[in-house]
């Protein structure tokens, strides 16, 4: 099956006053196919968000290439953006628009024709259970409802590629489950999904393939089964530690230790980007 997302040697360099050049993303490669959830698993500051922002054309890459649906993120950024829906825990909605107006705006600006708009929005409103609140201003909605509107606006223009950057951050369990359910549904529809998280259980349950990213580099990229086979570890935490700190004495529950980490926990270390 032809890849919908192709990333080759992608890097992104930032300039920091104190540290000089910092490579937030350092030559990463991966490919994604339709109907696949591709997980980027990494600690905070590992470079996940930067990589996804580059793919969403919000940032320009410093090196390498990346294409979405055959469009280069550098040469054809607008075509790329039309082919994707980007949802991040840091993105917000316009507080002074109603839920319906928000969906209409994002659908229109992403190219949904006027004659199809009403029907499309009606379906989304129905699907996400927004009927009762569709005419309420976004700033009056609860966090869970806002998140529903946010997901609905991400898929409003029916993009073939979806990027979810830590989408469950700040959500309660029920809303997080709902969010993950929608992502699973999008996979069922044949969409390509890039999903970044630092929550192991989410990646384990949801992702078809997982890329372990640390300090801007991808250390491993495969299915969970293959990663297990390759490392001899069963749980994703152990696999993660195996790749990002192979020499550490990090103790994880289930691996003989009772504390989370007896050494410095590198997964919680803050990296640039």
């Amino acid at each position: 099956m032809k890849s919908t997302v192709e990333v080759c040697g992608l890097s992104k360099t930032f300039y920091d006053e104190n540290r000089g050049e910092v490579r937030a993303v350092d030559g990463i490669d991966f490919e994604c196919s339709p109907g696949e959830i591709f997980g980027l698993l990494g600690a905070n500051g590992a470079g996940k968000t930067t990589a996804l922002r580059v793919l969403a054309t919000i940032l320009k890459p410093s090196g390498g290439t990346a294409t979405l649906m055959g469009h280069s993120v550098v040469a054809e950024p607008e075509q790329v953006r039309r082919s994707l829906g980007f949802n991040s825990s840091t993105t917000a909605l316009y507080p002074r628009l109603t839920a319906r107006e928000t969906l209409e705006f994002f659908a229109r600006i992403n190219g949904v024709p006027e004659e199809r708009l009403r029907d499309r929005i009606d379906r989304l409103v129905q699907r996400f259970g927004l009927s009762e609140y569709q005419h309420a201003r976004v700033d009056k909605l609860s966090q869970g409802m806002k998140q529903k509107v946010s997901i609905a606006r991400t898929v409003a223009h029916d993009p073939p590629v979806l990027i979810f950057d830590e989408p469950t951050v700040g959500l309660d369990v029920l809303n997080a489950i709902e969010m993950l359910g929608v992502i699973a549904e999008c996979r069922a529809e044949g969409k390509t999904i890039l999903f970044s998280t630092h929550i192991m259980s989410e990646a384990e349950k949801l992702c078809d393939r997982i890329a372990i990213i640390h300090r801007g580099k991808i250390h491993a990229c495969d299915t969970l089964a293959n990663l297990r086979a390759r490392t001899g570890e069963h749980y994703l935490e152990h696999i993660f530690v195996h790749y990002v700190q192979p020499s550490s004495k990090l103790e994880v529950p289930g691996k003989g230790g009772s504390e989370l980490a007896s050494t410095k926990d590198s997964t919680l270390e803050k990296d640039p980007g």
């Binding site: 992104k12 607008e78 628009l97 549904e185």
Partner: protein
């Protein structure tokens, strides 16, 4: 770690929590609270299979519902500008703005009500103060009255607005009373050094008063008026007694004739007032929208949502610019209309009472020029403000960044109050000043073609430069993401002047 026959797994916390919340361990499949449920309940994450095709089924719109793509290229799309996108973005900005109290207040309500209210309040205040001061009685201590001038004493004694006080205190004692306000003035009539011969009986009038007290100042003025009036009468009477007529005695007589019509005088008064307020209101009208469209987006975290849509950067910038400029132009136009109706309905009747009879009106031919001026001024101010606001991350930073530019815009207006400044070609080359003078000329019904043309060209050129500059500034992804914390200096130092270590490198504080 073995727990109830299973291996503890951090990921199972989610399952445990869901079980507790009744999401996984449902009523039909009760499970003990365990780290790993033995029987699996249907999960929202599980793919629902279609019974007929046995393929995963989605509750999202079906694949056949795929939306047709709208082509990116339109008939006229220079450098990524697409008017369909601009229209959608502009409509969103306006819709949101009209629901924002600060913008509605500053860009719509303030231009309509502020200056009319100030004008009404000022004139009402002036009339009230005048009424109050007219009723004042001046408390005056008079010295020895001049001999041979009983009429003068009579004049003072029979004036309703004067209360003559007897005071035997020394000069210093009276001065102290004047200083603390118990007495308003002291008047003395010493003999003049020319009081012999033809000037027999001449005297001087010495008034002591306190200029820091309004009441004392009024008493001094009143004494002057009375003594002048007495002198004129006395001189006329003495001249007649000597057989000299008033015409012979006066040497020359001054008469002036105002040939300006009431309308022209009204236009002159309007030309002094309107242009200044117009520029201030355009700037105020642009202020909040400019911050809202740039720093406001970042503060609300909607910037990233917008930047990840299919709209081109040029379309986004154009829509935002048009939004700010149109609110500025609206504020300026509303203010002009409000001011005109106020001077007609409030100022004119008040002036009529004084007998001056000024007629306030603007020639119809000025309307298109005024509209053009509103567009040019708003276009220029909006572009300038957006450049500065682009560096801000928060609303507060945005306001701080724009304020110096705002002051820069209204500063030249101070010089326009200097008498004699007219709409000439050299002044038509000066931004802001040219549009202000254009408004002033239009209000008075004057339309000098060459300065008008130069003003339009200069303004359009400057708007073009500012918009290009704003677009250039926003090309820096650091600026776009607000990494400079609202500091233009920091941007110039780090972003523009210093060479980047590597192509595409940006600041780390994302």
């Amino acid at each position: 770690m073995q727990v109830q026959g299973g291996v503890f797994h951090w990921g199972d916390w989610l399952g445990v929590l869901l079980h507790q919340s009744g999401h996984f361990g449902c009523k039909d499949h009760p499970e003990p609270v365990n780290f790993r449920p033995k029987r699996k309940c249907p999960s929202p994450l599980d793919q629902v299979k279609d019974e007929q095709t046995n393929k995963p089924r989605s509750s999202l719109p079906a694949p056949e519902d795929r939306l047709p793509e709208i082509p990116l290229k339109t008939k006229w799309s220079p450098a990524g500008l697409r008017w369909r996108e601009v229209k959608i973005l502009y409509a969103r900005e306006m819709r949101a703005a009209l629901r924002e109290k600060a913008i509605v207040f500053n860009s719509i309500l303030l231009p309509i009500f502020l200056y009319p209210f100030i004008m009404w309040a000022a004139f009402t205040g002036i009339i009230y103060v005048q009424g109050q001061t007219k009723g004042f009685v001046s408390r005056i201590v008079a010295g020895d009255w001049p001999k041979g001038h009983p009429g003068l004493r009579h004049l003072f004694e029979h004036d309703d607005r004067i209360q003559l006080l007897q005071d035997t205190n020394s000069q210093a004692g009276v001065d102290a009373k004047i200083l603390d306000g118990r007495v308003d003035a002291r008047v003395e009539f010493p003999r003049s050094e020319f009081s012999e011969g033809i000037g027999r009986g001449n005297f001087e009038v010495h008034v002591t008063y306190n200029e820091s007290r309004e009441r004392s100042e009024m008493a001094q003025r009143h004494i002057r008026e009375l003594t002048s009036e007495y002198r004129q009468k006395w001189l006329r009477r003495e001249a007649l007694a000597r057989g000299v007529s008033a015409a012979e005695w006066q040497q020359f007589n001054l008469e002036s004739r105002n040939i300006a019509s009431k309308k022209q005088v009204g236009a002159f008064v309007l030309s002094l007032m309107l242009p200044v307020l117009f520029v201030v209101m355009v700037a105020v009208g642009c202020f909040y929208p400019a911050v809202d469209a740039t720093a406001g987006e970042r503060e609300r975290n909607t910037w990233e949502s917008l930047m990840s849509t299919g709209a081109s950067r040029v379309s986004i910038l154009t829509a935002k610019y048009l939004y700010v400029a149109s609110l500025g132009a609206m504020a300026g136009t509303l203010n002009l209309v409000a001011m005109l109706s106020t001077v007609k309905s409030i100022l004119a009747p008040l002036i009529d009472k004084t007998g001056s009879g000024i007629e306030f009106s603007v020639p119809l031919s000025a309307v298109p020029v005024l509209m053009l001026a509103a567009l040019l001024m708003a276009g220029l101010v909006a572009a300038g403000m957006m450049i500065f606001a682009s560096f801000a991350r928060t609303f507060k930073e945005g306001q701080a960044m724009i304020t110096p530019f705002y002051l820069l815009v209204i500063l030249p207006l101070m010089f326009l109050q200097v008498p004699g400044i007219t709409f000439t070609v050299p002044l038509a080359l000066v931004p802001v000043v040219n549009v202000t003078l254009m408004v002033r000329a239009a209000v008075t019904g004057s339309f000098p073609l060459l300065p008008l043309l130069i003003t339009v060209l200069v303004s359009i050129g400057l708007i073009g430069v500012c918009v290009r500059l704003a677009a250039h500034v926003l090309k820096f992804e650091d600026v776009m993401l607000g990494s400079y914390n609202g500091s233009l200096v920091k941007f110039l130092k780090e972003g523009a002047l210093r060479r980047r270590p590597a192509a595409g490198a940006s600041k780390a504080s994302l």
